[in-house]
């Protein structure tokens, strides 16, 4: 039996949780929100050409693996990614790293993880976790969205690592190779914030950033006539799930980002960040309102002003308020 002394802390999003837990293991103590912020996690994009369960994808975060990549780099650590073709070899490599006493991060398909409650078992290939030990044929896993460490049988874990479909993990594993003792936290935070502002305001695509919200608003108000009432309701349901499902911390990561800004304020010594954190919380509330209206539409219990057009207006308001926040953030950092 191999068991690395690894501190598991629960978080609300898998990738930033994994990043924070792995870094903390090496003595770089940061919170989940901090990892999310430094890693430039916040984003928005509506991708009608990428389908999940035949419905368009809306994302509130950056690309998979990006948070971890950036946060470790900005804190001066070195990491290593390994990708595999053969499932057997990928498990051998994992065992080897564990024997060396290195906790290993994995990207997996949540559908195949037996410890997931049945209600959450959707095909979802972007779930991150840390393996920190092995007991016979079972692996000891720190899955950041669960309150306690869990166990998973080798065959199930192998299936999860080689899940297929969009964004297939392809057996990816990653671990920290080297930690630097000196890093500039304030500079890392500034970089993280600037990254978000740039991505949200200046991505040259109509479907991404604050422009993407407007784009979605334009599409959304035409859903009922284009797709029919039933299919339109399914599209709205998918939108809400992407925003509120396990992992986002609610409000499409906006609350998590507000927590990051609050934590960053004393480090940068700038009280304006606290004010911006409050504004970000307010947009989070607005996103939640969007989800509430959406849910009523899905259930067919919408009142007169709770329409697709109403949702589109809420979205446009989110876009407007957020762009003000990013503009001000750019001045601050």
């Amino acid at each position: 039996m191999v068991k690395i002394d690894f501190k598991h802390s629960q978080s609300s999003h898998c990738e930033s949780g994994v990043s924070a837990n792995l870094l903390s293991h090496y003595g770089v103590d940061i919170s989940e929100a901090m990892a999310f912020g430094i890693g430039t996690g916040l984003f928005f994009a509506y991708l009608p050409f990428v389908k999940v369960n035949k419905l368009p994808l809306t994302t509130y975060r950056c690309e998979v693996g990006g948070i971890f990549k950036r946060v470790v780099k900005r804190l001066g650590c070195r990491i290593r990614w390994e990708k595999f073709k053969s499932p057997e070899k990928s498990m051998t490599a994992l065992d080897k790293k564990l024997a060396e006493g290195i906790p290993v991060g994995l990207r997996t398909g949540g559908y195949w993880l037996p410890y997931f409650p049945p209600a959450f078992r959707f095909h979802f290939n972007m779930h991150n976790l840390v393996v920190f030990g092995k007991d016979g044929d079972e692996y000891l896993i720190s899955d950041p969205v669960f309150p306690d460490p869990v166990r998973c049988h080798r065959s199930a874990l192998m299936k999860a690592r080689f899940a297929k479909g969009p964004l297939a993990p392809g057996g990816v594993m990653y671990y920290i190779e080297e930690v630097s003792r000196q890093f500039d936290m304030a500079a890392a935070i500034r970089k993280g914030i600037r990254g978000v502002c740039r991505r949200m305001m200046k991505t040259p695509l109509p479907v991404a950033g604050v422009r993407g919200m407007g784009f979605l608003a334009g599409r959304l108000c035409r859903w009922p006539e284009k797709l029919g009432a039933d299919n339109a309701a399914l599209h709205v349901g998918q939108l809400i799930r992407m925003q509120e499902e396990i992992g986002t911390g609610g409000g499409g990561f906006r609350f998590m980002y507000a927590a990051f800004l609050q934590e960053a304020a004393p480090i940068l010594g700038n009280a304006r960040l606290l004010e911006l954190s409050r504004k970000m919380t307010a947009t989070g509330d607005l996103w939640r309102k969007l989800a509430v209206v959406g849910a009523r539409i899905c259930k067919g219990r919408a009142s007169e002003d709770e329409t697709y057009g109403g949702m589109a207006d809420l979205l446009r308001e989110c876009a407007e308020r957020e762009s003000l926040i990013y503009r001000e953030l750019m001045e601050v950092v």
Binding site: L234, R241, E244, S277, A295
Partner: protein
């Protein structure tokens, strides 16, 4: 309604001083609505498959495929064959001609004993 005692999620909340803390989530109605909707859709797809199997149009493989929320394309990727071959196996005639090796691969994927591949619920509603 989703009741999940196994997974208590946590979320970001403001305490009385306006500071962010991580707190256990009390669950949230819109999220449950959206999840219920997704499960209802899967249930409908499974029931649809079962009635087509009963009508002799599809093979039991279609039931397992729908139950695991897969399309023919995704299933093909998992068992490592061309999707047109999966389409053939979804027809009763093609399913009958499956080689033992191919049956084993499907059964392994769905974590079933090989014989259980022929089993599907009697009525569309009688889904476990």
């Amino acid at each position: 309604m989703i009741d999940n005692p196994d997974l208590k999620e946590i979320c970001y909340a403001l305490d009385e001083n306006g500071c962010y803390v991580l707190a256990p989530s009390a669950g949230w109605e819109p999220k449950n609505v959206a999840n219920d909707q997704a499960w209802a859709l899967i249930g409908k797809q499974v029931a649809n498959m079962v009635s087509r199997i009963r009508a002799g149009k599809l093979s039991p493989l279609a039931y397992h495929m729908a139950k695991h929320q897969m399309s023919a394309g995704l299933l093909a990727k998992y068992v490592g064959i061309n999707r047109f071959r999966v389409w053939r196996h979804l027809k009763p005639s093609g399913f009958k001609r499956l080689t033992p090796e191919m049956r084993r691969r499907y059964a392994d994927l769905f974590d079933l004993p090989v014989d259980a591949l022929d089993v599907f619920p009697v009525s569309p509603e009688g889904e476990d």
